[in-house]
């Protein structure tokens, strides 16, 4: 299957007074048409930076895309002008941010906010915009009569639905969802994820689902990429990653989560903390926390090794097996 979006060797740094923050370090990643890629990582791993990098919304002037290409349908997004990029945003690639409470403009009605996106990318009449707005609201499960209401009149889950409506209003090919349900309650999270799944099927949208919740990944994704200290350390099909994780960090992550179905007496967390992106260690970024660290891990950064079935792992342990 073809890659809708292909990120190649992307490097993003933030140049601050305290030093250089190496947020994204040589990431190569592809998202296939109609598929959902789960990007899993903890705070500070670089997932939001990566997402914003794709949308070219990196914070200026400190944030700089130092290297790499982002190929959307074979066109490099990094080479587009700002005007051309605006055509892409909302129409081809949409993004949902993490906090529904602050993502909506409090002084515009939800109908107006959905309408804005439609107007920006389509030449249709005011009536046409209204019609489409009502359609989108119904699609996300909100009665269209509520289009005249303001964000503060909606609950958290409802706000997130509005945000999804805005994101999908122009039927984009790729939806980037940055922790879309983390701020929501469990039962509401279930509702919203169900809805996103059905919308994805209806519109055949690809999705980059960023989350730290392995449960959400398991129920919603086709492929999984694990990100650590700005690098992809493992990538593969859903079942491969869950049944057969190879990278010590991935294995560690699975050991940390309390599982409803196991009777674990004590969790097995990973020692230590993710390294400070301003002073990343030499060699493999995970080496100071890794149980299996060898001498070479402290010196050199491993290359991505391709195992069967498209399963890739960035670890010297894999090279020994092959």
């Amino acid at each position: 299957m073809k890659d809708l979006l292909l990120i190649k060797d992307l490097v993003i740094h933030f140049e601050t007074d305290d030093g250089i923050v190496e947020a994204v370090n040589n990431i190569t990643l592809g998202i296939k048409e109609g598929q959902t890629l789960g990007l899993v990582g903890e705070t500070g791993a670089g997932k939001t930076t990566l997402a914003k990098g794709i949308m070219r919304l990196i914070h200026k002037p400190t944030g700089k895309i130092k290297d790499g290409e982002i190929l959307y349908k074979d066109k490099d997004l990094l080479k587009l002008t700002e005007k051309e990029m605006r055509e892409i945003r909302g129409k081809h690639i949409s993004m949902i941010f993490q906090d529904p409470m602050t993502s909506l403009n409090p002084v515009m009605t939800v109908g107006e906010q959905i309408g804005e996106v439609i107007k920006a990318h389509n030449r249709i009449s005011k009536k046409g915009i209204e019609k489409r707005t009502c359609e989108m609201l119904e699609t996300v499960g909100i009665p269209s009569g509520r289009a005249i209401e303001y964000p503060h009149q909606f609950s958290g889950g409802m706000k997130q639905r509005v945000i999804i409506a805005i994101a999908l209003a122009c039927e984009p090919n790729l939806l980037i969802a940055d922790e879309p349900t983390t701020a929501l309650d469990v039962t509401i999270q279930a509702q919203v994820l169900e809805m996103m799944k059905s919308l994805k099927t209806e519109f055949n949208t690809s999705m980059l689902l960023i989350t730290h919740d392995l449960g959400v990944v398991a129920q919603n994704c086709d492929f999984v990429a694990i990100i650590y200290a700005g690098e992809i350390v493992e990538y593969g099909e859903l079942r491969d990653i869950f049944k057969n994780p190879k990278h010590p960090y991935t294995i560690g992550l699975f050991g940390s989560i309390p599982n409803l179905n196991d009777n674990v007496k004590r969790l097995k967390p990973i020692d230590g903390l993710m390294p400070d992106p301003m002073s990343l260690p030499k060699g493999c970024k995970f080496n100071d926390r890794c149980k299996f660290a060898m001498d070479i891990c402290k010196e050199k950064n491993p290359e991505m090794v391709l195992l069967n079935n498209g399963h890739k792992v960035k670890c010297f342990l894999m090279q020994n097996n092959i």
């Binding site: 903890e42 889950g157 509401i188 279930a190 959400v216 940390s256 409803l260």
Partner: protein, 333 residues
């Protein structure tokens, strides 16, 4: 088997708030008991009142009625002088590692502050204070070199450890933990949960563990109560609750949890509607509006907790029907 001593008994606790939209029944007639050394998990989503209940027990919010009987005495009747002394026995660990620490105080200042408030040490006893702070920091796994750092220099996990150290410094017996790991990353959550477990064993602590994350609470609790819109809907020992959830809300809650296993086919019970607030609640079951099994009688009846099997309480007027249904199914098999 040694029967554990009862340390806390809460009877008919109520806390209401007057809002412009009406009277908010945040905590509406809550009762439970807790034995020494155990952990009570309090589970619920936003607006269920679990955090308010935790604070009401500590009298950080003054309850409107009910009894909180700690070691045999109703602390709601205590004078402010008695309360100040009681504070050394009951402490709280807060949710947000960012706002739960005073940004102007160093790690050691934050940890030692309760000792100064209670007059156990004076500011001049520098040597004893230094020894005490190192002792506690060691206990929670904070490096000595962090003594003079400020919260903004540290990550969430370390800040939460400071919060735990601060709660422990007065040697309390009961600690109310309000979502202590919700704001932390998964692997840090695991570290902190393990720490809390270890401390419980080492120091004989009793916990009330408030959370919305059922998987965390299964791991840690002896008993669990489920709250919805200010009321308890189910109460049972942890294994019983997970093995046999009876209240429709508990069932929905459990099924909503995203299980990290791609082969697991959830019997998803998707609830309709949203989480509202218990403002001017009508009589009758507060869950009926969203309940898949709701019948006429549910809207009139607000059944309290009823013991359905040993130690397993449910607040649902249709519960007998469910149990008979299950028995019927089992008989047919």
């Amino acid at each position: 088997m040694k029967t554990k001593k009862e340390i806390l008994k809460v009877n008919n606790l109520k806390k209401f708030f007057n809002t412009p939209q009406g009277m908010l029944h945040a905590v509406d007639d809550i009762s439970f008991t807790l034995s020494e050394g155990e952990t009570l998990g309090v589970v619920g989503e936003s607006g269920c009142g679990k955090s308010t209940m935790g604070r009401a027990i500590l009298r950080l919010h003054e309850p409107d009625s009910g009894e909180v009987i700690y070691k045999g005495e109703d602390i709601l009747k205590y004078s402010s002088k008695q309360m100040k002394k009681l504070r050394t026995e009951m402490q709280m660990i807060f949710q947000d590692p960012f706002s739960s620490l005073n940004p102007r105080m160093t790690v050691s200042q934050s940890i030692l502050e309760p000792l100064l408030i209670q007059g156990i040490y004076k500011k001049e006893d520098k040597r004893s204070l230094r020894i005490k702070v190192k002792e506690i920091m060691n206990l929670v796994g904070l490096a000595d070199r962090l003594v003079n750092t400020y919260p903004h220099e540290l990550d969430g996990g370390r800040r939460q450890r400071i919060g735990i150290a601060r709660a422990l410094v007065l040697n309390p017996k009961l600690i109310i933990c309000d979502e202590p790991v919700s704001a932390l990353d998964v692997s840090i959550q695991a570290q902190v949960l393990n720490l809390m477990q270890d401390l419980q064993e080492q120091l004989g602590l009793t916990y009330i563990f408030i959370t919305h994350d059922l998987s965390v609470v299964k791991h840690l609790s002896s008993d669990i109560v489920v709250m919805y819109l200010g009321q308890l809907v189910e109460k049972a020992p942890a294994e019983k609750l997970f093995a046999n959830p009876l209240h429709p809300y508990t069932k929905a809650l459990l099924s909503a949890i995203a299980v990290p296993d791609p082969d697991f086919k959830a019997d998803r019970i998707l609830l309709e509607g949203e989480l509202t607030s218990p403002i001017n609640p009508k009589p009758g079951c507060r869950f009926a509006k969203r309940c898949l099994y709701a019948k006429e009688e549910c809207y009139g009846n607000n059944a309290g907790l009823v013991e359905v099997e040993k130690d397993h309480f449910v607040a649902c007027c249709l519960i007998d029907g469910f149990i008979n249904q299950e028995k019927g199914v089992k008989q047919k098999q």
